[in-house]
Assembly symmetry: C2
Homo-oligomer: 213 residues x 2
């Protein structure tokens, strides 16, 4: 019995093969899904697919970062940093604009952001100099910053980055805080993992302060 | 308590928003995944993303179909149709090049293909004139075709298309067959659905012929 080798796909067209290889180079998209997507594309209007391709070319060639918070912005200064109503003395440190958008959507934060553009990860060869750490330190030294809030993922990389930033910032006479870790709103306690539950108990706070806003 | 509205994402950049909208227009990719992919892209080399975008533009502007079997091919005639060793009198009818590639990878078929480019689906407004049906009939009438093998999905659309093609082809003095439906190799019988198992029993064949090749 011959074993089919689907892993090495034999494409009848180099153009299709190239498009499939490009799509499947993205994380989480395999060759079979990529081929399905490409066959979907060729059934679309030519104009739509030209726009599709050009959107990525436009993005990579014209991308611009806010000069203050390093979020992606079409202008020299992003909307939040140019907003006079935002409190410039409180800086929320985030990994990327996805977290920034998530915090913004809570409507609980009136300060400004600092986008690191990654997390320290020795395993992936990403050190403090590869992300916007020095820029944060300089910002704190130069301007009137009162509080830095770490809003980083509770992963090894997030904790490492938190710790490194804390060591660099602790002598600069500012308040350093981190977003609360505990039980998610709506979660049932019996399914919480022991580390989260333990953290939630040791970080307990007065009942009146614990209500969701 | 305010409910976060993440569904309407507020992008800080039109370029990012555009790229995210384009990616999430593909089936199976949501806005959040699209944003994750776009943030992955902007960390890549500019040249790679230019190539990424151009691969789809190249594809849609230069795509070509084999003049005989209608598979996607960079040449006027695809590799299989121009291969003298392939048996031109046996035609395997498939929905798209994905099925063609799957059949090719079995190395069990030495004939040629006919790619319909879709299945008849009244629900989606796809009729016989939207797929390559007439071209198949003409091919059978004009050239020395001995056998047509239907290799279509066992869905309502596949069965409808099978039935329509059968009606159009049955008076043309050729053998019309369909790939066997039955229990997958490696499957345990107690988990097979009753329709498949019923079909497998009624389509039983001499033991010597039932062995996998």
């Amino acid at each position: 019995m011959k074993i089919p080798k689907f892993a090495t796909m034999n494409f009848s067209s180099k153009l299709v093969e190239n498009a499939v290889n490009q799509l499947s180079s993205l994380p989480g998209i395999g060759k079979k899904s990529a081929l399905r997507l490409v066959l979907h594309m060729i059934k679309q209007e030519k104009q739509n697919i030209n726009q599709f391709g050009n959107s990525f070319i436009d993005l990579i060639n014209n991308i611009n970062y806010c000069s203050e918070c390093f979020s992606i912005s079409d202008n020299q200064k992003c909307e939040i940093c140019s907003d006079q109503k935002r409190d410039k003395s409180t800086i929320c440190v985030v990994e990327d604009i996805r977290v920034m958008m998530a915090v913004e959507s809570t409507m609980q934060f009136k300060g400004v952001y600092h986008v690191l553009g990654g997390l320290i990860s020795p395993m992936d060869g990403i050190g403090p100099s590869d992300i916007k750490v020095e820029e944060l330190i300089q910002k704190v030294q130069k301007s009137e910053v009162k509080e830095i809030i770490f809003a980083l993922s509770t992963t090894m990389e997030g904790d490492t980055t938190n710790f490194y930033l804390f060591r660099r910032l602790k002598d600069l006479n500012i308040t350093i805080s981190s977003i609360a870790r505990g039980i998610s709103i709506g979660d049932e306690l019996e399914y919480a993992d022991e580390i989260t539950l333990g953290t939630a108990i040791s970080s307990r706070l007065p009942y009146e302060n614990s209500l969701s806003k």
